[in-house]
């Protein structure tokens, strides 16, 4: 994530103003930020979130997107409770996540040596989330084509799809590079993220996830409600970018 630091010019000028008894040369060369006798503050310094950019898929191929559409629809289906993961845009959410720093495992420790490890030692695969998805989707679709006469996962019946995902989770169908249960846990976690995160990230379209459970979203002041015990508060949800009927 890009961080905006206060301008170097303002740092150096303040050091010059109050004397340099704290530091010898070559402080001017330092990439450290030195703060003395002030709380740094720059007008219009901000660090807003980077939401999903609009447009076509940036990570998934058409085949992969079709798989993901079908798979997320099994994880959180469309039903009488309301829209499911597919309608909520979870495929778009995943796409933007996987093409970005998360997909690249940017903040993870990805140095070797690599060993299998115990379950208690956590994720020890060489795969980044992007590689994980790419590998798993291919493995599952390849398996489907072999087993179901050339059909991809998206072409199977809903029952067949549900059945296969269960098999993967129980390790009855083996994925090559990762345990099936690990992939399904990972996948469901990402699907839940996509269903319930702020709509700026591409999922939870029209706040359907929040509306399903009654979560008000990006509200930040509930003081009026603390004493309202056991009451249905009926708070309209709002996202970081507001909501359609909200005119600032």
């Amino acid at each position: 994530m890009a961080k905006h630091d206060i301008s170097r010019r303002s740092v150096l000028s303040s050091t010059a103003l109050f004397g340099t008894w704290f530091a010898l040369e070559p402080i001017a060369k330092a990439e450290a930020h030195v703060y003395s006798r002030e709380q740094p503050w720059t007008e219009e310094h901000e660090d807003p979130p980077h939401g999903a950019s609009p447009g076509p898929y940036q990570f998934f191929t058409a085949d992969e997107a079709a798989f993901v559409d079908a798979a997320v629809a099994r994880m959180i289906p469309n039903d009488d409770l309301g829209p499911g993961a597919k309608e909520a845009g979870v495929t778009t959410f995943l796409d933007r996540q996987l093409v970005g720093p998360y997909g690249r495992a940017q903040t993870w420790y990805m140095q070797g040596p690599w060993e299998k490890g115990e379950k208690t030692q956590g994720y020890q695969y060489r795969l980044t989330p992007a590689q994980l998805y790419r590998t798993a989707i291919k493995a599952i679709d390849d398996h489907c084509r072999e087993t179901f006469g050339g059909k991809a996962f998206r072409d199977l019946s809903i029952d067949q799809q549900d059945d296969l995902l269960q098999k993967i989770d129980k390790e009855d169908m083996k994925l090559q590079n990762i345990s099936g249960m690990s992939f399904m846990t990972f996948f469901m976690r990402n699907v839940v993220e996509g269903f319930f995160s702020d709509p700026i990230y591409g999922g939870n379209r029209d706040m359907v996830g929040w509306k399903m459970i009654g979560f008000p979203g990006a509200h930040y002041d509930y003081r009026d409600y603390v004493s309202k015990h056991n009451q249905d508060l009926k708070i309209k949800p709002v996202g970081l970018k507001g909501r359609p009927d909200w005119k600032p």
Binding site: A32, W108, F196, S197, A218
Partner: protein, 587 residues
Amino acid sequence: MASRMQPVDVVIVGFGLTSAILAHELTEAGLRVVALERGGWRDTSTEFNISYAQDELRYYWRRELFQEPARETITFRNKMSETALPMRHLGSFLPATGVGGATIHWNGQTWRFLPTDFVAHSHNTQRYGAKVIPDGMTIQDWGVTYDDLEPHYDKFEYLYGISGKAGNLKGQIQEGGNPFEGPRQREYPNPPMEMTYGPTLFGKAAKEIGYRPFTAPSANMPRAYTNPLGVRMGPCTYCGFCEKYACANYSKSSPQTTINPVLMQKENFELRTDSEVLKVNLDSSGKRATGVTYVDTSGEEYEQPAEIVAICAFAYHNARLMLLSGIGKPYDPQSGQGAVGKNYAYQIVSSVNVFFDKDQIFNPFVGAGALGVIVDEFNGDNFDHSGLGFIGGGYLACWNTNGRPIETHPVPKDTPKWGAKWKRAVADSYQHTISLATHGAVMSHRDNYLDLDPTYRDVHGRPLMRLTFDFKDNEHKMSDYLTDRATDIAKAMKPREVHEKKREGSYSIVPYQTTHNTGGAIMGSDPKTSAVNRYLQSWDVSNVFVVGSSAFPQNPGYNPTGTVGALAYWSVDAIVKKYLKNPGPLV
């Protein structure tokens, strides 16, 4: 070749909770102080802006507020017979980086330890006999008492504006407070928080059983507050984005909201961020520190000479720096010799989900990090342990911290992991479920320890900290007992369904539990069995002080921050009143 900076009186490693306290007190005493923080500057109006602070995905799930394992992580194993492997992404605990450290994203649950916690070894042996401490359990007395720390607890609580009701005022038990706490000299600076529905029901049920529940002591402000330094905080808005998130309201106590506005203005204080201390430098005798070596983001190295070095880097980072710098004798679990790295401990937690029908509406999103009701009957040695097979305990809580849906969507036992039934269970349970928590002590054991990993390295090429740790019999028995007691209260709430979730099996680095890492540079009365003395001064290098939860010889059943703050004040008080007058070993 490192560039040499102008010498200062004190160089502090890190700029989190303990650093800010030390820097403030030492600059008040007239010393020139430099703090070196490897992360960046962070402040409320800029980094924790009210327009976007409430972003569940970004700050917790994409880990933006926390230390990046890519630069540095730990390696972990349960047993010495295993190979420790890197914690490749964060899970069990959330170490921070940047100004303010982990106090940016803590929840504000602020406690004092019990008087008996400080003498856990002698107290338990006295009451239950020496055999109550099993072979391999290495708990020790702290070398300080609750009475020693009382004025410093008080000072920290007033600095941080802690809200609560005194339970023991100068020996008199008070209604509405914790009846088990050690005596305090005066009331909390702020009254208890106004309570939401779930914890209120919990409190009612607990009372019916005969317990004495009370509102949790909290660093979320119940009202506007001006602390003794003149720094102002705002009232908490119960936003439900507290723990794991930064506060945009100036209502969660942290260095930013309690000390930094005053400290940063001082002419004898300087902060350098993006400056990572690689090691503490020692003179040729190895008994005196000359300062530290640090590196900036371009890789340039600097030497900062100082008369005093304060290592305030957080928990296990403290032990690591000591080991990398050759301060003290590294702990060897085979022989039991040495003290640096010894007695690492943590917390053992469990939960009970309590499901109600739709006529009970909890609005979980109306929450705050330390908003809750506590039952403390089973903490420490507050109860008779005879015949139970364990020592120590923990509190039972009904916390109402959040309803953030990615994290908090409870479902009944045996609900499928996804699909239509899962979706229905989430929709039906979200508004009608509360969760009880147990927060248990972890005793120290011979083979739970920290040392330097032989294989894996950080971005600078330094060996990572290796953690060898598991819960032992004592912890499991105790935690199961606490969970059963929580279930008793859950049942008394007359719900539709209770789902008890005991802590099972070995400790795993994967699911989040707490960021209550302790030990590794423990305090004590004996230089053979502790790394620092009762003033948190290194036994081996007398101008080095090591401040943090690293000092805990074992971890009691309360959140550590209150005691970390008290120890910081206690230690810096000794530096100012004793060490400066007569530099050298204080003990």
